[in-house]
């Protein structure tokens, strides 16, 4: 099972900087980052190589952070791959609460991170269709 970190931030200069500094100071690698904003505040999602350590370090600094369960799906880095994946999910009526991607190996492999409302169902459907899902350990090893 994999998870990413979800962090409450005020939309003010320096706020995101503070978070990334905590991670840098602790030698933690950021794999991917996504920001959703609702005006004066927002939520930053961070995918890192050492989730537990990052979580502890951020809490230590009084940062409002929680862990959210995710699915990380390996896709070929080619046209249409994302479309195919979304069709599989929408056919089963699975809503995505959050979705972002990152390149694993240039021109070869990409990964898509999703937060799905029906987590076990989404996992089952994707495995059935032959998608490769990354575990925490595999994610850390990238």
């Amino acid at each position: 099972m994999a998870y990413h970190l979800s962090i409450f931030v005020e939309n003010r200069p320096g706020k995101l900087e503070k978070i990334t500094k905590v991670l840098a100071d602790n030698g933690i690698n950021i794999r991917a980052i996504s920001v959703a904003s609702a005006g004066e505040f927002g939520v930053v999602k961070l995918l890192v190589n050492e989730g537990d350590r990052a979580f502890a370090a951020l809490r230590e600094q009084n940062i409002t952070v929680s862990k959210r369960r995710i699915l990380v799906i390996l896709l070929p880095d080619s046209p249409g791959a994302m479309y195919d994946l979304l069709v599989v999910l929408s056919e089963k009526n699975i809503n995505l609460e959050d979705c972002y991607g990152f390149v694993v190996e240039r021109k070869k492999q990409a990964a898509v991170v999703i937060e799905a409302e029906k987590y076990p169902l989404a996992e089952g459907v994707l495995k059935e269709k032959g998608y490769k899902l990354l575990s925490d350990q595999e994610l850390a090893a990238i």
Partner: protein, 426 residues
């Protein structure tokens, strides 16, 4: 269970008779002070006739600084207390030895009422010095025979160390500081419920909500009692909650109580909300007649289950001068506090800002996200913001802009919390 059974449980008729006698004695004494010269010879036949006397206001005390209200020779005064006014004249209050003894007795009676006895350890975290909160309780606790620790405010770790080391049972504390102190307990991994002998908190000096009192009781595993007082008539001990926790008994053998309409000055019947007006009945150095406290409350109708005859007032809703008028609507900060306290997902610290935007008043309420409850979705945060906005609107009828901020970013005050910033262009 009573400190002075006769005085606390006498019947209403006897109390009224006693008050009339004491008011008339006070009028004779007051006429000896320069400010009250022209009431000389006035005698009341009924207590209601007190309405013929003019009010005394805080501004009068300032205008007649320093001796305008002093009726005795200065050599008879043994103590001076003063407000910490930074502009203009401070409010100065003199006490004779008898005044100090009476004051001490009021505090002792109040503390005895909530169960303080010899053998208790009383930690007084209020400020000593010119402020009456510290010394008033200090003498009252000693009079009962409780071991009194005059630690004063601040240095939270040392406060907790004293509590643990000497088995403190009773604490006198500002409600806002109680919350801050709890966070230090957490930081030190000390559980006040298991690791201390705390049983009662005395909270006062700043208006607070019922929700905040219950919160303090739950956090520390104590019962928290509301204390009322003002330095112009002595200090703390003017009124106190009994163990029923249903209103504050005002000691009517020491004060004559009226509630008035702050606009018209008209005396209101019991049950109606208005400004508390007090006439001192036993003060020697500085009697005050119909003193406008500025505190808004109402007299609770009916008898208290504890058997005391003395009138009860509801917890102070705010000060007449704390009231915010936002686009013509009257709002008390305490209403906002109460709403925040009962909304899960936000912290207890808050900041109220009023600004002028497009020639209109605009109300901002800043609250901290509770990091223990944060589940990590933007939808939950916008939902929380919307819910609090709606709850506030239902309470105050004005729609505020609720701003969610990161925990630990709003200022925490160790002293009296100032949570309202009026930034309107005058």
């Amino acid at each position: 269970m009573y400190w002075e059974e006769n005085l606390e449980t006498m019947n209403e008729g006897a109390l009224k008779e006693m008050q009339l006698k004491l008011v008339n004695q006070t009028l004779v004494k007051a006429a000896e002070a320069p400010f009250y010269r022209n009431i000389s010879g006035k005698k009341l036949r009924t207590l209601e006739e007190i309405r013929e006397l003019p009010f005394t206001r805080k501004q009068d005390l300032r205008d007649h600084f320093p001796y305008g209200f002093l009726r005795t020779d200065l050599s008879e005064a043994v103590r001076l207390h003063s407000s910490s006014g930074t502009t203009g004249n401070p409010t100065v209050v003199f006490h004779t030895r008898a005044d100090i003894e009476n004051w001490t007795n009021q505090v002792a009676r109040s503390m005895y009422m909530i169960g303080v006895r010899p053998g208790d350890v009383f930690q007084n975290t209020m400020g000593y010095g010119l402020f009456t909160g510290g010394l008033g309780f200090h003498y009252g606790a000693e009079k009962i025979g409780a071991l009194t620790i005059p630690i004063g405010p601040g240095n939270s770790k040392r406060q907790i160390w004293f509590m643990q080391t000497f088995g403190t049972t009773v604490v006198h504390i500002l409600p806002s500081y109680a919350l801050r102190l709890y966070s230090i307990f957490e930081e030190m991994s000390v559980d006040p419920k298991k690791d201390t002998k705390l049983k009662s908190f005395i909270i006062g000096s700043e208006p607070h909500s019922e929700e905040l009192r219950r919160e303090i009781e739950d956090l520390f595993g104590v019962r928290a009692y509301n204390s009322y007082g003002l330095s112009e008539v002595c200090g703390p001990g003017v009124g106190f909650e009994c163990s029923c926790q249903k209103g504050i008994h005002l000691w009517e053998d020491y004060y004559y109580v009226e509630i008035i309409d702050p606009e018209t000055g008209e005396v209101l019947p019991d049950g109606e909300e208005g400004e508390l007006v007090l006439t001192t009945l036993q003060r020697e150095a500085m009697p005050l007649l119909r003193y406008r406290t500025g505190d808004l409350t109402r007299v609770l109708p009916g008898k208290c289950e504890c058997g005391r005859v003395h009138k009860r007032i509801e917890r102070i809703k705010g000060r007449a001068d704390d009231m915010l008028i936002i686009n013509g609507v009257n709002i008390f900060p305490i209403q906002i506090e109460e709403t925040i306290m009962r909304t899960p997902g936000v912290g207890k610290n808050y900041l109220i800002e009023v600004k002028t935007e497009n020639f209109m008043d605009k109300l901002y309420v800043k609250v901290e996200v509770d990091k223990e409850i944060f589940e990590g979705t933007l939808a939950a945060l916008t939902g929380l913001q919307k819910k609090l906005t709606e709850e506030l609107k239902a309470e105050i009828t004005v729609t505020p802009t609720v701003q969610l901020v990161e925990p630990g970013t709003l200022p925490v005050w160790e002293g009296k919390a100032k949570r309202v910033q009026d930034l309107r262009s005058k």
